[in-house]
Amino acid sequence: MSTLALHLNKPYGYSCQTWLATDISNRYFSRIYRVWFATTFNPPNNGHSSNPVILYQELDQIVHRNDFNHSRVEQLRQRLTNWISGSRLTPSDIANLRAEIASAPVAAFRPQLWRIDLANIHITRLINLGQFPDEYQIRDLISPEFEVIAE
């Protein structure tokens, strides 16, 4: 029972990530991704921000309408900023990234749907976030462990 697939009894995890978060991970964190996921595509008991399909639809519409005042965009900016603030980057990189996130256009929040192969992941890497019943986190995902299924 060492893999997440066996532990959670689900073959895949699903997540919605923004292009900006992925790009920051590629440039500053050696392509190691800090991601949340749910074990179903449309988890009924999760909030909208932790539901891959609803978040994808929402962001897709926001980007198409260039809805720069949308609260979801503000929430994502804040989350990205918090992530950077608590990271091990240098203070100078953190300041520059904060500025980059603050001034990023809505298009930078275009969504990608990820499918994480849970058979590839050891259970010790699972973090249970505790707010919603089907919301987990992996803090060190690498590209062979997931597939982008929609963007």
């Binding site: 060492s2 893999t3 066996l6 292009w19 900006l20 992925t22 790009d23 590629n26 050696s30 392509r31 949340w36 804040q78 989350r79 900023t81 918090n82 992530w83 950077i84 603030s85 608590g86 990271s87 240098t90 203070p91 100078s92 953190i94 300041a95 520059n96 904060r98 500025a99 980059e100 603050a102 001034s103 990023a104 256009p105 298009a107 930078a108 275009r110 990608q112 192969d117 058979a119 590839n120 992941i121 050891h122 010790t124 890497r125 973090i127 976030l129 505790g130 707010q131 986190q137 803090r139 690498i142 590209s143 062979p144 462990e145 597939e147 982008v148 963007e151």
Partner: protein
């Protein structure tokens, strides 16, 4: 304001967040609350920032003295917002100042995806030994792409690591959970060598075993072959062979 002070305001904001919204804090960072406080104190010792110090002390007083949870949450949100916005404002100023000094912009195109699609990995049901050990190997070898379950000469190869750079060798991986003696190891080695021949002379072979062999002698493997012991329970390789293998690939 220098970057250290901006960083400090960001950390104080996170400390307030940790107190009133723990799930959101956990989404943001791996640091424990204690670690975060130590980091704040460390930066406070290094730099002189009466404003940040006062904000941090205010926050500690609020946490220690406020009795109503609703009031506590409200006050900490104010600290979080105040601290984060200050950090945000000074980050923008710092970044613009730097850009002006360097006279160059970030080479970012927000309208073009930088995501390079990875080679499609066709994964059938596979023993966890090969999956987990290969994923761990890839952390040391980011320039490789895994291809699982290839067929060659009537042999099913567990995994081939394909290099993205031509100067690097192919790596053929076989995971064996049931090898307990040298005879079985000898058979597995011959099979692997046969599979390796398809990928050129430089190809490196790896046999991943679940348990260390007691009578194992490195010389029986010959050149370009490695035996790695993988503890699936702890998700780690046992022994020093991994480092010899990585060194060989890099040289």
């Amino acid at each position: 304001m220098n970057p250290q002070e901006i960083y400090l305001f960001g950390l104080i904001g996170l400390r307030a967040l940790a107190e009133y919204d723990l799930p959101e804090y956990n989404r943001s960072t791996d640091m424990s609350k204690r670690e975060l406080e130590r980091q704040i104190e460390l930066v406070l010792e290094k730099i002189d920032s009466p404003e940040a110090e006062s904000l941090f002390n205010d926050m500690k007083i609020i946490i220690d003295t406020t009795e109503s949870p609703i009031e506590l949450s409200f006050l900490l949100q104010q600290i979080y917002m105040s601290s984060s916005r200050k950090a945000q404002y000074y980050s923008l100023r710092y970044s613009r100042q730097q850009s002006a000094e360097k006279s160059q912009d970030f080479p970012i195109s927000y309208h073009e995806s930088r995501y390079e699609p990875e080679t499609h990995i066709s994964v059938s049901h596979e023993a966890e030994l090969v999956r987990l050990s290969v994923m761990l190997l890839l952390r040391h070898l980011p320039e490789y792409t895994p291809l699982f379950n290839l067929h060659f000469k009537n042999i099913e190869i567990d995994c081939v690591l394909e290099p993205q750079l031509t100067e690097l060798p192919y790596i053929v991986v076989e995971a064996k959970s049931r090898i307990v003696n040298l005879k079985q190891l000898d058979i597995a080695t011959k099979q692997l060598k046969s599979a390796m021949s398809a990928f050129g002379r430089k190809t490196v072979g790896i046999i991943v075993l679940e348990n260390p062999l007691l009578e194992y002698n490195r010389e029986i493997l010959g050149k370009n072959m490695h035996l790695l012991f993988f503890d699936a329970r702890k998700n780690q390789f046992i022994g020093e062979e991994l480092y010899g293998f990585i060194k060989g690939i890099r040289s």
